[in-house]
């Protein structure tokens, strides 16, 4: 076991795969330095032939990754801020996601797209969004969202080895957060949730940076004798409903917490699945917590109000106890 930041874990996982497999390479804007510094050490180890700085050209970055993946290599394309992915939606949704299907299953696209999501650093409206719901809606994509350094390693190993386009959502507020990781790197299969904390009274489902907020809320609620179980899906698609439903079967109550704008969030799909398939387990209404339905504001006080908080989670839990 060693300690490592989330950012470093991502870098180490990619390096591990690049050492294993010469067909893996990284491309993106200024990845040789990295606005968040995540890929800097990759450049030091592998140089410009495998860690490629591109012009400001998200459309071509993703489109080129598609063309490369279709012809024998395994690109990892970086979108510096998830917000910029809006520029490359055609390449992701109309090309990468559909190519295998439209060609009758006769092509594979081993392609990873990294992107830094999330608010909390006063980066304002165009550098702070969480847009994962766009991608879980699109058949043909897998979507991964690690919440810890350990998960980042395991999920990246699987994502890079996967033969389908995988979008990895990284929460930028986690880059500097440390956590324990196993000495030996092992893939975490895509589509397997983890119970991050066991409890009997209520299920809190959370993703990304909301997992640690849920943990904090749970620790505080424990003092009031409320025992929360925390489920982190880790992969948003393929989605592990079994683990979630099992928990709800036990607790009969569920709170869903994600950092997205609440309306139309990925958590809406989870709520819908529960209402369809685990309805009989429920003793109380489902409660979703998300960001307020506004763009991300700049000012610290506004951004704090915007984001779901530990307090919000505690309040929600109590509202259904």
């Amino acid at each position: 076991m060693k300690e490592m930041t989330y950012g470093k874990a991502i870098c180490e996982a990619i390096a591990y795969e690049m050492r294993r497999d010469k067909s893996v390479f990284v491309l993106g804007e200024d990845v040789s330095i990295g606005v968040f510094g995540v890929t800097k050490d990759l450049f030091k180890e592998f140089g410009p032939s495998r860690v490629m700085d591109t012009p400001i050209t998200e459309t071509a970055i993703i489109g080129a990754a598609v063309g490369a993946a279709a012809t024998g290599v395994r690109p990892i394309a970086e979108i510096m801020f998830m917000d910029f992915i809006a520029v490359a939606m055609d390449e992701i949704v109309n090309q990468a996601a559909k190519m295998r299907y439209m060609f009758g299953g006769k092509i594979t696209l081993p392609l990873v797209i990294r992107c830094a999501a999330g608010a909390g650093i006063q980066a304002a409206g165009q550098h702070s969004q969480s847009l994962e719901a766009w991608f879980t809606h699109i058949p043909g994509l897998k979507v991964v969202y690690p919440s810890t350094p350990e998960d980042a390693i395991g999920l990246y190993l699987s994502a890079i080895r996967d033969d389908n386009p995988v979008i990895v959502v990284e929460n930028k507020s986690l880059y500097a957060v440390k956590g324990k990781v196993e000495d030996e790197f092992k893939p975490i299969p895509l589509g397997r949730a983890e119970v991050k904390r066991e409890g009997d009274d209520v299920t809190i489902f959370a993703t990304g940076a909301c997992v640690s907020k849920a943990m904090m809320a749970a620790n505080e609620l424990e003092k009031e004798n409320i025992n929360c179980e925390i489920i982190d899906p880790r992969t948003l698609f393929p989605f592990d409903k079994e683990t979630l439903f099992k928990s709800i079967e036990k607790t009969n109550k569920v709170i869903l917490v994600t950092e997205e704008n609440k309306r139309g969030a990925f958590s809406a799909e989870v709520a819908a699945l529960i209402a369809e398939e685990a309805f009989d387990y429920l003793d109380a209404p489902i409660v979703r917590i998300g960001a307020i339905n506004t763009p991300v504001p700049f000012s610290k006080v506004l951004e704090e109000y915007y984001l779901p908080s530990v307090e919000d989670i505690k309040k929600a839990v109590k509202s259904i106890m």
Partner: protein, 327 residues
């Protein structure tokens, strides 16, 4: 540039195959046998064939919504193509793609594409892959005059230029993007002038002259293969049929079409073959007959092939997950 007799005949054959395939497709569409959006390549055959004749199986192309010609030129097999247009399970894409998505990756065909201009970055990525793997493969991106105004054109040519990628961008300037003439969608005449924005070579040729296309493509492909980077090659040509089958074509005159028919690339090449005694009439007739037969057989194959089973719709989204069936 000298082209061998054998090659010239193969070129004629491919051009004629495209023509025969497309005219049959138009006929079938008019009869209601085919559905969806179908864009025919009739009139532009010299471009696809003149370019692809310089490529190997291991080279790749990206095609467009008007893709049948590219497929045939790159070695696509007409019966699987026709079956795909019919939406049959024996089609290239098992009926999932249709005309706008026909592909044969095993022959280096990265697919027709329903999104205008989507091929630019994909071909660029293929070029990146070849450079990365240090192979001598080349990628060719076919696109139209209309597509040359898309942002993907700019981003892709810029990227390919700074990395000297082995990609040839082949513009089929058929003077229209849908119903809009070139003069109303861009202010330049020669799309190859845009090469200057990327510090690469730009060339314009008569796209109805197979020799001109072949030679220019040969130079560009050779250069790319040897590490010399990308070229922008514009071929001026014309489509005789509507933008898509069913297009009433109110935006142009019959005379304009007739004018272009006089510059028909296939008739031109045939004349050359005969006049230069590269091939005699009997041989050409035989060849044409064979192709016509092949196309009829392709139709037969398509018509007799089974439809996919409805639940097959659930397959092939991922390599490892099959979607849940309807309940």
């Amino acid at each position: 540039m000298k082209i061998s007799t054998e090659k010239l005949i193969s070129i004629y054959e491919k051009m004629f195959r495209i023509r025969a395939f497309e005219e049959k497709v138009g006929e079938l569409f008019a009869k209601g046998k085919l559905a969806g959006f179908v864009h025919c390549y009739v009139g532009e055959e010299a471009v696809a064939v003149g370019v692809c004749q310089n490529l190997d199986d291991k080279d790749y192309i990206t095609s467009t919504h008007r893709g049948h010609g590219h497929l045939i030129a790159k070695g696509g097999i007409t019966k699987y193509m026709m079956a795909e247009l019919y939406g049959k399970s024996t089609g290239y894409c098992k009926g999932k793609g249709g005309s706008m998505h026909i592909a044969d990756a095993s022959k280096g065909i990265l697919g027709a594409n329903g999104i205008v201009g989507a091929g630019f970055p994909i071909a660029t990525g293929a070029g990146l892959s070849f450079k990365y793997q240090k192979t001598d493969q080349v990628a060719v991106c076919f696109f139209g005059d209309g597509a040359s105004n898309r942002g993907t054109f700019h981003e892709s040519l810029n990227l390919a230029s700074i990395w000297d990628l082995p990609v040839v961008y082949v513009c089929e300037n058929n003077m229209y993007g849908e119903f809009t003439p070139q003069s109303r969608h861009q202010k330049i005449n020669n799309i190859s002038d845009r090469a200057a924005s990327y510090g690469i070579t730009g060339v314009s040729v008569d796209g109805n002259d197979i020799f001109a296309v072949y030679e220019a493509a040969s130079l560009a492909i050779d250069k790319a293969r040897k590490g010399g980077g990308p070229t922008l090659l514009e071929c001026k040509t014309y489509r005789y049929r509507g933008h898509f089958e069913g297009d009433p074509q109110e935006y142009r005159t019959k005379e304009e079409i007739e004018d272009w028919r006089r510059k028909d690339p296939i008739i031109k090449l045939k004349k050359h073959l005969l006049e230069n005694k590269i091939c005699d009439e009997t041989k050409i007739n035989k060849l044409e007959e064979n192709i016509n037969k092949e196309i009829l057989e392709a139709v037969e194959f398509a018509e007799e092939s089974p439809n996919p089973k409805p639940e097959e719709a659930l397959e092939n989204v991922y390599t490892d997950i099959i979607e849940e069936a309807r309940k």
